[in-house]
């Protein structure tokens, strides 16, 4: 389609998407503020589908919360896409695939959130994977992207195998697809059945959520997709998977044995560590962000685990805290991660590279993007004053409460250890994002593309700033968020969060105080230290001239981490020095560092290899000789006759 009309289509579609999101948000807010009793009851809408496979939808507080996330994400990323797509349009790349799949993807996510029975869920779940796959595939010119999309789609399908199995198994046991029917029937099931179903759900959904070790696809897909899509996938789609954990495991499969909680806690901790470790040694703008998504999912997993444990130790305070932490962090991560992906998108469009080793000094050239990104990294590293911290704050607290109120047992050691893990993760994430921001935005440009970089289209830096503004707002006015979080909590039968606001409110109101005080102090300091003259000079470099190559590289900045965790990261380095004859004068030095995805190489590749081997042997059956085929026939006849008697 021509340039002109594609422009109009771009604006039309994205505008529509934004308007829809806005309308949805406003409508929802109004209905919610009007003390929505209807939310608790929920409404159902049947559609004729024959053979008892009917599509049913339901809306309750839990759904409303995630719908809020979805709508917010949709609005923001659509707004961003409005600017981002312009580049494709200038390259005369057809926008149709993007626009159509964009809408269908969003629609299917709505379907997943609203689904009230297994079949509807499966249907929309598959479609969600399908359309996101097409979106990842949008930049198919690069074979690497095609590979990523392929890996993504296949892994989600393998996960869906387990989901389908579990759902059909439940269907066979209860004779119905409806979630309520399952919940009713669960007490009648045996423990082993329950555990099997739980495991199936855990792996199936965990793959989509990006739990380690089912996370292989996530870095590929999220980095291959166009940035608005990455924002949507990281910010929203992953959360949809987590929503299903609550819907299917917490609400449907019921409390379950204690080890479920431990599993969540363990896998969560593992994901957090592995995710952030891999992130810290990446030098690819978007891969790094993708890995950090895995980390945050891990944190959310820890929160879920804490909630499950609290439930089985019926410690309602810890459970409330855990859930508040969970939902709070969900919102915050959505905001910050989409913000960062938008920033990355701007950089990529300005420099056409994702490799941080070629960036640098962008803050001077794209100041507004840079400012947004700065807010983003403070938030994502879970540092005060921004919201990222307060979520973890409550998570810490819930873990502490869980432990303190526990009669006895080794759990009293392991739970606090997870606090230690979180601390380690926090430190690592600081390192990671200092690298992400510092290397690409600070210092001097490492390549000509970085030097020539220009600030992005206004929409593209205004949107991140809006997101940042929202993040700040959420800290300044936490009670609003609490009111929102109250909706799902009321569904999860964990009592009213405002009920314990006496205990909970204070720290969260503290968040606004903290922010204000910090700004106040900073301002005071600035005012007080405003004396003296400034002079701009060259950086001191032992007297020598300062070339870009003298800067610390992205790899170098986090090299200590890489060295310390060589085993976990599967890192290989190969240094080659060319000494001119003597061993004193070094002519050239080549350094090559490689990272092997440990899980990928230790589990997935062997599995695939085995599959290929097997099928290559099966193919030998068709050897091309008709005599052989006749032999098959004869043998079949005889076998059937013998067995059939």
């Amino acid at each position: 389609m021509g340039n002109k009309e594609s422009q109009s289509f771009r604006q039309l579609f994205m505008g529509l998407s934004i308007v829809l999101a806005g309308a949805g948000l406003i409508w929802g807010t109004i209905l919610t503020c009007r003390g929505g009793d209807w939310i608790k009851t929920g409404f159902q809408l049947f559609t004729e589908a024959g053979a008892g496979l009917s599509l049913t939808w339901k809306l309750d507080g839990l759904t409303v919360f995630f719908l809020f996330i979805l709508l917010l994400g949709q609005g923001l990323s659509s707004l961003y896409a409005l600017g981002y797509l312009k580049e494709y349009q200038d390259k005369n790349k057809s926008l149709w695939p993007f626009l159509i799949n964009w809408f269908l993807f969003l629609a299917s996510m709505f379907g997943v959130l609203l689904a009230d029975d297994g079949f509807t869920f499966l249907l929309s779940w598959e479609m969600m994977s399908l359309f996101s796959f097409f979106l990842v595939l949008y930049e198919h010119e690069d074979p690497q992207n095609r590979k990523s999309a392929y890996i993504y789609f296949v892994m989600t399908h393998v996960a869906t195998v387990l989901l389908t199995t579990a759902i059909l198994y439940l269907y066979a046991l209860t004779g119905s697809f409806a979630f309520e029917a399952w919940a009713k029937a669960v007490p009648t099931l045996s423990t082993s059945q329950l555990n099997l179903i739980f495991l199936a759900f855990f792996i199936g959904l965990g793959t989509k959520a990006g739990f380690v070790p089912f996370h292989i696809w996530l870095p590929y897909a999220h980095s291959a997709a166009p940035s608005p899509v990455s924002a949507l996938m990281s910010g929203v789609m992953v959360k949809v998977a987590l929503y299903l954990f609550i819907r299917l495991v917490w609400l449907t499969l019921g409390p379950g044995p204690v080890w479920w909680g431990w599993l969540f806690l363990l896998v969560g901790a593992l994901s957090a560590i592995v995710g952030i470790l891999s992130a810290s040694v990446q030098s690819d703008l978007k891969k790094l962000l993708a890995f950090s998504t895995i980390e945050n999912v891990g944190i959310l997993g820890i929160a879920l685990g804490s909630a499950f444990l609290a439930r089985s130790w019926n410690n309602s305070w810890a459970m409330n805290l855990a859930f508040v932490a969970f939902f709070w962090h969900t919102i915050q991560h959505m905001l910050f991660k989409s913000l960062l992906f938008m920033g990355a998108g701007n950089i990529i469009q300005a420099t056409h590279t994702r490799n941080m080793e070629r960036l640098g000094g962008l803050l001077k050239r794209m100041p507004k993007t840079g400012f947004g990104a700065l807010i983003g990294i403070i938030g994502i590293t879970a540092l005060p004053p921004l919201g990222g911290f307060w979520g973890e704050f409550m998570l810490f607290q819930s873990l502490w409460v869980n432990t303190a109120h526990l009669a006895n047992g080794w759990s009293k050691v392991f739970l606090p250890l997870s606090i230690g893990v979180l601390a380690l993760v926090g430190g690592l994430s600081i390192a990671t994002f200092v690298k992400w921001f510092g290397i690409s935005f600070l210092g001097q440009a490492r390549s000509t593309v970085a030097e020539k970089a220009k600030e992005a289209h206004p929409v593209q830096y205004i949107t991140p700033l809006i997101v940042g503004g929202l993040a700040v707002l959420s800290v300044l006015w936490p009670s609003a968020i609490l009111a929102l979080i109250n909706l799902p909590l009321s569904v999860l039968r964990t009592g009213d969060v405002l009920g314990i606001s006496s205990a909970l409110g204070t720290p969260l109101n503290l968040s606004s105080t903290y922010l204000i005080l910090l700004i106040l102090l900073t301002v005071i300091v600035i005012v007080l230290s405003k004396r003296g003259i400034r002079r701009v000079t060259a950086t001191w470099n032992c007297g020598g001239p300062l070339t870009p190559s003298l800067q610390y590289t992205a790899g170098g900045l986090t090299n200590p981490i890489r060295v310390l965790f060589t085993k976990v990261l599967g890192s290989h380095r190969h240094v080659e020095g060319d000494f001119a004859g003597t061993q004193y004068t070094l002519r050239s030095l080549t350094y090559e560092g490689k990272l092997k995805e440990v899980f990928e190489y230790s589990f997935y590749r062997p599995a695939i290899g085995g599959l290929i081997w097997l099928s290559s042997h099966i193919r030998k059956l068709q050897a091309g000789s008709i005599h052989l085929y006749l032999a098959y026939l004869l043998v079949t006849v005889i076998v059937v006759l013998i067995l059939g008697r």
């Binding site: 005060p384 390192a431 205990a503």
Partner: protein, 322 residues
């Protein structure tokens, strides 16, 4: 009416708390320098020297690298402010902290994290080699200290069943000074704070030999007022850690108005003595050991973390809950 009065007193006390920290910080620095000099058989600079240095730096002209952006100038301010924010949760001379809600011990570590973030960013601003080197090492050591710090504090929280530092201090009064888990936690915190204060064996505050320095490396590009602020912030951080340790070793509980002026002054003197003693102790440590190379840091800090974990286990074992 009395509500407003309460708020006002809170505010005033808070300001007083900060003021005390601000005033005392350089003094402690001078004291430590002095005691190091004592071990090195030197005269050493006068105790008030740090004040003079700060004043001089604040007057001086400031050089800014051509590659630096606005963050270069913003960083020192935020670093100082963040350090002060960390100060708000540390119970001061009167065993009272402006911020004392449950969970504020996490706030302490987090504020220091914020400080670290901006410091390291500032280190990258200069586009030079040493700044990057400093940031890289600071980040490395930082991520290793965090768990030990948090776990140590958590153990104390479990001992006293409170998660606000003030509550912990109050609770610790009733705990015997020789409580095994407390001592183990203390060891952990001590090792952590050595690393945090950037002292031997982790880092050498006095050196400017490029290849060994960490903290100084990040400050290399700074001069004039900004440098003053950064140094000042470092001194404050040091003071805070010392106070924290001191309060844990020998907690001084809440002093209410009822104790009157005398009691207040007594508390002030008491904490002064404790901090001075600790400072002297660390100076001694610094004089006895040498700086380790970077990749020995993990072992050192792992020791800290493991002692914190031991503290935890021992706690439950003693309580007979395992």
């Amino acid at each position: 009416m009395d509500e407003i009065f309460m708020i006002l007193t809170r505010l005033l006390m808070g300001i007083g708390h900060l003021a005390l920290i601000v005033v005392a910080a350089p003094l402690v620095q001078g004291l430590i320098k002095k005691s190091k000099a004592f071990w090195q058989m030197r005269q050493g600079p006068p105790i008030l020297q740090p004040y003079r240095d700060l004043r001089k730096l604040l007057k001086k002209e400031e050089l800014v690298s051509e590659h630096a952006s606005w963050i270069f100038l913003l960083a020192p301010r935020i670093v100082l402010a963040g350090t002060l924010m960390a100060g708000l949760v540390i119970p001061g001379a009167w065993g009272w902290a402006p911020f004392s809600v449950w969970g504020d011990l996490f706030l302490f570590g987090a504020s220091l994290g914020l400080v670290r973030l901006f410091l390291t960013l500032a280190g990258l601003e200069g586009a030079g080699t040493f700044g990057g080197m400093g940031s890289s090492r600071e980040l490395f050591i930082g991520l290793l200290t965090e768990p030990a710090l948090l776990l140590g504090l958590i153990v104390l929280a479990f001992i006293t069943e409170a998660t606000s530092l003030q509550g912990i201090m109050v609770g610790l009064q009733s705990v015997s000074p020789l409580d095994i888990s407390k001592i183990l936690a203390l060891i952990a915190l001590g090792m952590v704070s050595i690393a945090e204060m950037g002292r031997i064996p982790m880092d050498n505050p006095d050196t400017h030999l490029e290849l060994t320095m960490i903290h100084e490396g990040m400050l290399l590009e700074y001069s004039g007022p900004s440098l003053a602020l950064l140094n000042f912030a470092e001194q404050i951080k040091q003071l805070l850690l010392l106070v924290l340790l001191a309060q844990i070793i020998w907690p001084s509980g809440l002093i209410s108005f009822s104790d009157g002026l005398l009691g207040t002054l007594w508390a002030l003197g008491f904490i002064g003595v404790k901090v001075a003693a600790l400072g002297f102790f660390f100076a001694t440590v610094e004089s006895l050991f040498v700086k380790r190379r970077l990749f020995r840091a993990p072992h050192y800090l792992a020791t800290g973390t493991s002692s914190a974990i031991l503290a935890l286990i021992s706690l439950w074992i003693i309580r007979g809950q395992i």
